[in-house]
């Protein structure tokens, strides 16, 4: 692990996925918070997609645009750097998480910073930036409301665009009463609006007092040398415009060629993420404030992180680098919907995390995540840039098998299965035997409430008893025209 700082908040627990998931399933608050997904983000995306007849065409365009950028990534990065530098940006390159943290810490030291405000950035979570800066004696304040909630609870985001998705309104109220001790204990906080107003008032002074404002970037534009952020709250803009120094922390795969290439991606991003036609604020930042500007930062730094991405580019999971971080895959995932984001145990949860985590933490630590899938395909069907997420998860499963990280039982089971599947006569025989015996045993009740070796299944639902003949038998009969109605 090369993430920097003391890692109080973001110690990876992906290897403990099974235990994490069990805890999540038994957490009533979490289950209540997750229950809003189908009627919330999922329904909103469906409506936004329906209102744009060209949505499917834009998915193909989005895929092709990102593929072109990845195929020419070195050249677009060079051109972005040249144009950004010409406009007054200082561009830094970081191979690893700790390098990125050290670059940012040095910029802060050089301007003698005390207070750092930060807009929402998943890359900053990935590198463990807050812990690193705090260890340097800086005060770091998350300005996105969801990130702020997660920060004061000493947690990490459970969703890439809705960081506090795992919290209910009641939990937020309790948290505010506990942490905002400068306010009267018995003040009314009847609804989210009153809590938002409280956070707004607290955050105002931070924007003004901040020495350094850090944001992420959704896109880098080679044509203009700009970084782009997308927000609804306006926190990213106050963060970058009121501080003396603006630092952008981003990663190599975010570069696109032109404003024309960004336009279709913007049409996809908000619709896929929150079901908005466009996020409230889309901001293109280029260089520091100009000589005549009365506001804006005096310095503008862009830190471009690799952290394993150039290796992914040459691997079987290259397609994952198309990701524009909308979160649609997790919103639509039945596994994410059941356990939330924390159980995944690393920065990126859901299907996108199941592909990224083994790449970032290694196959051994991340091996459970590609398996935590029903392979229903929802993630791929909603992905705005058509990443074949189930296929990529399958690649990791194969790698896990090749590297021998599975349990003895799983290996033995797979070997038995393979042995049968390669010998159709043996497979048919085994299937017929199982269908006959289970059918005979279960005839009375039509199903089984418990079965040896199948406790994982029967704990949550009955196993129906086979109805006599096997699929192969039925199929053969149908082909002969004996059972046309099967």
């Amino acid at each position: 692990m090369a993430a920097c700082g003391t890692l109080k908040r973001m110690k990876p627990t992906a290897a403990d996925f099974k235990a994490n998931a069990r805890v999540a399933l038994d957490d009533p608050q979490l289950q209540r918070a997750l229950s809003g997904l189908p009627t919330g983000l999922v329904a909103q995306r469906t409506a936004a997609k329906a209102a744009l007849p060209e949505f499917e065409a834009f998915r193909n365009i989005g895929r092709d645009v990102k593929n072109h950028m990845l195929a020419n990534l070195d050249l677009y990065l060079e051109r972005y750097e040249a144009q950004a530098t010409a406009n007054g940006a200082v561009v830094h390159w970081a191979e690893t998480a700790s390098d990125a943290c050290e670059i940012i810490a040095k910029i802060c030291r050089d301007v003698d910073a005390k207070l750092v405000t930060k807009g929402k950035s998943m890359v900053s979570e990935e590198i463990g930036l807050n812990d690193h800066l705090e260890a340097e004696g800086l005060r770091v304040v998350e300005t996105d409301l969801g990130e702020y909630l997660v920060q004061i609870r000493k947690e990490h985001p459970s969703h890439i665009i809705v960081p506090a998705l795992h919290l209910t309104e009641q939990q937020v109220e309790a948290e505010f009463r506990e942490k905002h001790t400068h306010l009267p204990k018995d003040r009314p906080l009847p609804d989210p609006a009153s809590m938002v107003a409280e956070a707004r008032a607290i955050m105002r002074q931070n924007y003004i007092d901040a020495d350094v404002g850090i944001t992420g970037a959704n896109f880098l534009i080679a044509e203009t040398g700009s970084t782009v952020i997308v927000t609804n709250e306006g926190n990213g803009d106050l963060t970058q415009s009121l501080a003396r120094v603006h630092i952008v922390i981003t990663s190599i795969e975010k570069v696109v060629a032109t404003l024309e290439d960004v336009a279709p991606l913007l049409r996809l991003l908000a619709r896929s993420a929150t079901g908005q036609d466009i996020s409230n604020y889309v901001t293109f930042s280029t260089g520091p404030k100009r000589a005549a500007d009365p506001d804006g930062p005096e310095q503008y730094h862009v830190v471009i992180l690799d952290n394993g991405r150039s290796d992914m580019l040459g691997s079987e999971v290259r397609d994952v680098l198309r990701c524009i971080r909308c979160g649609a895959c997790m919103n639509h995932c039945p596994v994410y919907g059941a356990i939330g984001g924390h159980a995944y145990g690393w920065v990126y949860p859901g299907p996108i995390g199941a592909v990224l985590t083994p790449a970032q933490l290694g196959v051994k630590s991340g091996r459970h995540l590609p398996g935590a899938s029903t392979f229903c395909g929802s993630c791929a069907s909603v992905c705005p840039v058509k990443i074949p997420l189930p296929d990529l998860m399958r690649k990791w499963r194969e790698a896990e098998f090749r590297q021998g990280h599975q349990t003895f039982l799983a290996k033995a089971g797979l070997r038995t299965w393979a042995g049968l599947a390669k010998r159709p006569w043996a497979y048919h025989l085994a299937a017929r035997f199982a269908a006959l015996t289970l059918g005979a045993l279960g005839r009375g009740r039509g199903g089984f409430r418990s079965l040896p070796f199948a406790g994982g299944w029967t704990k949550h639902r009955d196993l129906p008893a086979p109805q006599g003949r096997t699929f192969q038998q039925l199929w053969a009969e149908q082909q002969k025209g004996l059972a046309p109605d099967v």
Binding site: N72, L145, V162, V172, P192, E233, L266, N280, S315
Partner: protein, 240 residues
């Protein structure tokens, strides 16, 4: 598939070599030689020079009257106010009327934009107009001039500078924006072209801001609330 290693591997640390090592690793992954003889160089330069448009959605290519109606309806759906004004000279009166309707004092802050500064502010006797960047706490109402707008989503485009300081768009409780109808186009791509025409090719202000409504959040229990960190109210005055 081999494990990707960079995250666990040793780096030579931040510094001048990092850039070249990252780009070299990208080239290795892409299996390309690099250098000026690389045929991709011309492809990439052409793409940046051409700035070829992809598909424009049908909703961005309507007749101009329909674009204007759609622009207003999307902004209103996004909880902004849209007020039609016959000409620029009518803006001070229209603003005064809006501020009174909101029970707000007739005081506003704006940048040094001649298109706004030279309006007949004396037609509203009680109006106080201050020039410059927004000051926290004291400036509750600000006024900006939009360089363009895109009707496909009801989106204003503002360019920062001494004429329209960026703090005006984010610090106040109430943000007022003047948009001349001639600057209203259908698609984002057309708005980008208007910006290029106004500022120059490959020239960007410190910030180019797309704004599609007042600030909002749904971070508490998924319930939408207006006025998260930026303006609580946005009023757009469409001229002509």
């Amino acid at each position: 598939m081999s494990d990707t290693r960079s995250m666990n591997g040793q780096s030579a640390g931040p510094g001048p070599g990092a850039r070249d090592r990252i780009l070299a690793n990208v080239r290795k992954a892409l299996d390309v030689p690099g250098g000026r003889a690389d045929p991709r160089e011309a492809v990439v330069d052409l793409r940046i020079a051409e700035r070829r448009r992809h598909l424009l959605p049908a909703r961005a290519t309507l007749p101009s009257a329909d674009l204007r109606a759609q622009f207003a309806s999307y902004l209103i759906r996004g909880k902004a106010s849209v007020i039609d004004v016959a000409d620029l000279a009518g803006v001070p009166l229209a603003i005064a009327e809006y501020l009174r309707s909101q029970n707000l004092p007739l005081t506003l802050r704006m940048g040094d934009d001649p298109r706004l500064r030279d309006l007949p502010w004396n037609t509203v006797s009680a109006m106080t107009v201050k020039l410059g960047r927004a000051e926290p706490a004291t400036d509750t109402v600000t006024l900006s001039y939009a360089v363009a707008a895109a009707a496909e989503t009801g989106t204003l485009v503002l360019a920062s500078g001494p004429d329209n300081p960026v703090s005006l768009s984010f610090l106040p409780d109430t943000h007022l924006v003047v948009l001349e109808a001639a600057m209203l186009v259908g698609a984002y791509e057309e708005a980008f072209d208007l910006v290029r025409k106004t500022l120059g090719d490959r020239v960007m202000p410190r910030t180019l801001n797309f704004i599609s409504g007042p600030s909002r959040t749904a971070d508490i229990g998924g319930i939408p609330v207006m006025g998260a960190h930026g303006p609580i109210h946005l009023a757009v005055f469409v001229i002509g």
